[in-house]
Symmetry: C2
Subunit: 187 residues, 2 copies
DNA sequence: AGAGGAGTAAACAGATCGGTATACCCGACC
DNA sequence: GGTCGGGTATACCGATCTGTTTACTCCTCT
């Protein structure tokens, strides 16, 4: 991660807060610049375009999530690592996800498959699936691929429902289904 | 459903196609009017505001989904009705959901909790959960509430992943997990 | 002492936003 | 044979959109 200038740092923080909180298309660069205490000139010098700023926002959100998830999993006892991903998700959502998955929300606003941010979104989901697969293999699952698919679906379901207040505690539901899936897989 | 004038019908159809395909905030009323072969005056006379048009779009999408789901479930043999909801979802998504759940996407773009369309979105999720709960009760589940939570989460997970092409066949994954959940509930 | 990077302030461009206004047309009903 | 609902066409409103430009200041590193 190439170090950002102080102004660029504030721009990216403001973009993250505003994009996630109000939606990408609902937030203009004028507002971001004003919120960051920066002129548009500085914003464009540092990031080049709104498109690139969106990508940077998603990339950094992904980095934060990965760091949080792996740290929580690493801190869990070996036999609990898979379930620990759901505890990590619950804690993350309490702090950072009142409006659902930032990547799913971004995808909803960026229908163009060629938009550079779409690659960041796809990356996020593929990384998570790969990570879950690794954890399944380490746990000795015989069908790690299938189990990883199931765990990913539980993660996504819980994340999206968390933003819709349709269920009281979606992560608890997904965690208990994950436990059942692990038992079914003989773990 | 109060009958729409022909022009209003075209407006609503155009709005549905454009809102779902490109995102709500990315589509202006000028574009909708042009796509429908209608002037903005007509659009505003029939719907009053973009806000109301968004609500009407979501309401009709919800109606179509409910009609489709209940018809498919009714056509299934009694012991297969719960799993039939996943088959109905699979068929629906093949035709109508290449970009994920229209309601989740709309929620991503409408952060304001007071927006009238938010009530339509909440309605859609609550109705589905209630419907799944009914099916669970009819099937004789002892813990219909918990089972309905799990099935709803599987539905949402499959729907959102379907729009992200992170898994090859998310509905198949959720259907197989639903089957496991039913077995675990003794059904 | 001087150069260059990082920043501010403010105006501008062309397009589009949601929404309104004026003026006209046509076919069905009474 | 008018009246009126539903519709068309076109122009306009102020605001906001992404992005650019010009002119200037401050700080740090050599």
């Amino acid at each position: 991660m190439e170090a950002l200038t102080p102004a660029a740092r504030r721009v990216l923080d403001s973009a993250a807060e505003l994009f996630y909180g109000h939606g990408i298309n609902a937030v203009g660069v004028d507002l971001i610049a004003k919120h960051a205490g920066v002129t548009k000139k500085t914003l464009y010098e540092r990031f080049g375009s709104k498109e690139a700023l969106i990508s940077a926002y998603l990339r950094e959100r992904d980095e934060r999530w990965r760091a949080w998830l792996t740290a929580q999993v690493d801190a869990a006892p070996p036999q609990d690592r898979i379930l620990a991903t759901f505890d990590a998700l619950a804690a993350w959502m309490r702090r950072e996800n009142p409006r659902g998955c930032g990547f799913v929300n971004a995808a909803a606003e960026l229908p163009d498959a060629d938009h550079p941010a779409r690659a960041v979104i796809a990356d996020q989901k593929h990384w998570l699936r790969g990570y879950l697969r690794e954890l399944c293999e380490e746990a000795g699952a015989s069908e790690a691929d299938d189990l990883a698919d199931e765990l990913l679906l539980l993660h996504e379901g819980a994340t999206v429902l968390n933003g819709l207040s349709a269920l009281a505690d979606p992560v608890a539901v997904s965690r208990r289904m994950a436990l059942a899936a692990l038992e079914r897989a003989g773990l």
